[in-house]
Symmetry: C2
Subunit: 204 residues, 2 copies
């Protein structure tokens, strides 16, 4: 990896960190792109070359999480019940976050904290989740041999999985150490598994 790419990655993270700190300090809405750009000494124009929008900053981890889930899902045997595969994919995300570098972990916790008191950001987050849901639904529909445009059970399976993910990460609100958050996430997965009828995801 050349100097160029390393520098770019460094800049990208610098922007993200500066932005998150500003957001936590003075709120999301009242922080302008100009301020963020100023804090890392780049032009506003360059900011938009690293992040296509201000919103995109907050969705940093969603991009990565989606990747992890899709990879984990691809690794599961094709004849495994689909919801079981999805729960494994969820755990893969947990494992990934847990094994991340301290800097990544801090960023993760800050971004999570940012959602508190910013319903608009929760909305963004959920909207991005819907995009992931769509992609997962395609994979699951393919595995089940059905048309994703028509099959409701496929969408229900994926929606329940993503609901679990969302509840696990967002609830409880307020701060929390990484291990606390991850522990709650695991609890939520178990709660979901307890709540569903065995074999529900294998209906015709």
């Amino acid at each position: 990896m050349g100097l160029r790419e390393r520098k770019k990655e460094k800049t990208r993270l610098a922007i993200l960190d500066a932005a998150v700190d500003l957001f936590l300090e003075q709120g999301y809405e009242s922080t302008t792109v100009e301020q963020i750009a100023g804090a890392v000494e780049i032009s506003p124009r360059t900011f938009f070359r690293y992040f296509t929008s201000k919103d995109h900053l907050v969705l940093w981890f969603h991009e990565h999480g989606e990747e992890i889930m899709l990879e984990a899902l691809a690794d599961r045997p094709g004849d495994e019940p689909p919801f079981t595969s999805l729960m494994h994919a969820m755990r893969a995300v947990v494992a990934d976050v847990e094994s991340s570098t301290p800097a990544d972990a801090e960023r993760f916790l800050k971004l999570r904290k940012l959602l508190d008191g910013h319903p608009h950001l929760v909305g963004l987050s959920v909207a991005r989740g819907a995009e992931t849901e769509r992609r997962l639904a395609e994979v699951i529909a393919d595995r089940r041999g059905v048309d994703p445009d028509v099959d409701q059970l496929t969408h229900l399976i994926v929606a329940f999985a993503m609901s679990t993910m969302r509840v696990g990460f967002e609830c409880p609100r307020r701060e929390g150490t990484m291990s606390e958050v991850m522990h709650r996430m695991t609890e939520t997965i178990e709660l979901t598994e307890r709540s569903l009828r065995p074999g529900w995801d294998l209906q015709h």
Copy 2:
């Protein structure tokens, strides 16, 4: 009701209908507020007095649906299992849409059709759903006598209910008559009820 209020309501619907038609015709992004305002012969400034944002147009039915759900929920006995109450609230929304005027029904179907091929609008829609979810969670937490900031099961119950709603309304894509859409919605509710373990929403 005075002339004033009637005229306002008429303008509001004229804006909405003009906007939806323009969106379907030339896409959401490439339709400007100026165009919409021009089509109903008002100033762009006035547009923003009727709808706080362009996005808000698409969320027309969500506002109403949320109201219906909260009212229906308030009417359910307090000792009913929470998920059962929520499913009744969902059915109340279905009943409401079914009994709406032809003009409302047409608007509903057009807005639904608009979501096809506009992932951004699906995102908006889902984000607004998260807001509803938050409100429902408060009601359910109250009925269960738990703290909504901490109790995961409450959020899971509400999230599963909203997932059902979303899948029912959005899937299958493409056009469909009102009765087809409503029939699918009912099917989805039944599918969900079949998928969950009896009493799952009564865990400690």
